[in-house]
């Protein structure tokens, strides 16, 4: 018997997601290496300090482009409605797996939407401050040092969100990751996590 699935992400969406995801991880690793002397060894994954320093902004450029595409693809779905706001009020029930006390989410729940907006904002900060640090000539030390601080704060924010994102997308909610792998989720999964979403039905 053919099992039916719901189409959660298109091929293009998945590619864009993983471009952003992979570049972000690489950026985070090298960024942490530059921020923490004790993690400088992480640069070895990219060929050592000099190579890492050259690649980091180049990867950053790819990340920036990916982020832009992602924004264009998903922004329509990311505006919060009234139920989303209620969802946010009930977030501790969501964390405690008390489904009955959580208002039903659409294709994206309010947490995901916020994640989107915060990541977009951080993306701007990353790219803007990163560009200045990449091409520092002509800029004063005060500005550059501030950019360094800003870049780091963005890293901190982005890094913490990543932890949550990966945790929730993998072990916390089995079946989620698949949506980003072959683009399909089960109707059961959808009912549980996104009851208001009626996705396109696809056959195996």
């Amino acid at each position: 018997m053919a099992k039916s699935f719901l189409r959660r992400f298109t091929y293009f969406e998945r590619v864009v997601h993983w471009v952003v995801g992979v570049t972000f991880v690489l950026l985070l690793l090298t960024g942490l290496a530059f921020a923490y002397p004790s993690l400088f060894w992480l640069t070895t994954f990219l060929g050592g300090g000099s190579a890492a320093r050259v690649l980091h902004p180049q990867i950053g450029a790819v990340f920036g482009v990916g982020l832009l595409l992602m924004f264009g693809l998903w922004v329509r779905d990311m505006f919060l409605d009234s139920q989303d706001r209620q969802w946010l009020g009930a977030i501790k029930h969501y964390a405690a797996h008390e489904r009955d006390k959580v208002p039903p989410a659409g294709k994206y729940n309010a947490g995901q939407k916020l994640f989107f907006w915060v990541q977009s904002l951080l993306g701007i900060v990353f790219v803007a401050s990163g560009l200045l640090l990449w091409f520092p000539e002509g800029f004063g030390p005060g500005l550059l040092n501030s950019m360094r601080l800003l870049h780091y704060l963005a890293t901190l924010g982005g890094g913490l969100f990543l932890i949550v994102h990966v945790y929730l997308g993998t072990i916390a909610y089995p079946g989620t990751a698949r949506g980003m792998i072959d683009g399909k989720v089960t109707p059961e999964w959808a009912r549980l996590h996104h009851p208001r979403w009626t996705g396109e039905r696809v056959e195996r």
């Binding site: 400088f40 000099s50 520092p136 040092n145 890094g159 932890i163 916390a172």
Partner: protein, 287 residues
């Protein structure tokens, strides 16, 4: 003589924050002393610097000044800067030797993320090790004196190394050796400081009421000090009045990096704790 090269601080290492103690911590601490009132702007030091350090000749062109280059570069570690300043009927032709001041608290070293790319020796010299440099140029913005310069070819940063190879061999730096009017002196920092005070006294007697020693406390003092005849015109000499080793944003960065390291740890642990507390949630659980 190599004991003069025992290390005090290494960039991107714990010693950047807490200087290393060594058996030789009490050894000689050197300083250059540049008496601007004696400098005739002959550029002998500039040329000697290039010659000794084997720095590349750059194609220069006159840009309406007696000054050779518009700016320092990775191949010009020392530049004589010329500035004509009018002061009522008086004219001052301010000529300043621009090069690394070798701060006691080196902003470049503090800002550097690459372990071992910048080293400070117990004797006061701050040196860049290009083989460890990753070319991020954070030292450039970390320097309150705008000294280090990035080399686009080698993708590393360079600056005056106080002719460390000469100093190691018991010699003075090449610029000192060359200076025809003894405007640049070399010696134990305390002696140089005493000498500088004496020079300021002489200058005051000659009518330079604002003569001053430039050894700014904001960077813990420097290992190239200036005797400035017009101490009230630091700006005209392009010397910052109040340089600091770690300006606000970088101090902030240090604090946030520390906090951040805990937050990252806390984030991972929280996720695991949450997982252990409530476990995975799958549709079957609600079936």
């Amino acid at each position: 003589m190599s004991d003069t090269l025992s290390i005090k601080r290494i960039s991107a290492s714990p010693s950047a924050l807490i200087p290393l103690e060594s058996l030789r911590s009490g050894g000689p601490v050197y300083s250059k002393l540049v008496d601007i009132s004696k400098c005739i702007g002959c550029k002998g030091c500039e040329v000697a610097c290039k010659e000794w350090n084997d720095l590349k000749v750059e194609q220069t062109s006159n840009f309406g000044s007696m000054q050779s280059h518009q700016d320092l570069s990775s191949n010009t570690w020392l530049l004589m800067r010329f500035n004509e300043v009018e002061d009522g009927d008086d004219l001052h032709w301010l000529i300043k030797k621009d090069a690394c001041l070798h701060c006691e608290e080196p902003g470049c070293l503090f800002a550097c993320p690459a372990p071992g790319a910048i080293v400070q020796y117990q004797n006061g010299i701050v040196d860049f090790n290009q083989e460890n440099c990753i070319g991020c140029q954070y030292c450039v913005s970390g320097c309150p004196f705008d000294i280090p310069r990035f080399d686009k070819q080698t993708k590393t940063v360079a600056k005056c190394n106080m002719c460390i190879d000469r100093v190691e061999a018991g010699l003075e730096p090449a610029c000192v050796k060359t200076c025809p009017t003894n405007a640049i002196e070399w010696g134990i920092k305390d002696d140089m400081l005493a000498q500088a005070e004496k020079k300021v006294e002489t200058l005051r007697k000659r009518g330079y009421d604002h003569a001053a020693v430039y050894n700014p406390g904001g960077v813990g003092g420097t290992h190239m000090m200036y005797v400035v005849p017009h101490g009230d015109r630091l700006n005209d000499y392009s010397l910052p009045a109040h340089p600091v080793a770690s300006p606000g944003p970088l101090r902030g960065l240090n604090v946030f990096q520390r906090i951040g390291s805990y937050l990252f740890g806390a984030g991972v642990i929280s996720a695991l704790a949450h997982f252990l507390a409530v476990g995975p949630e799958s549709p079957e659980d609600h079936a």
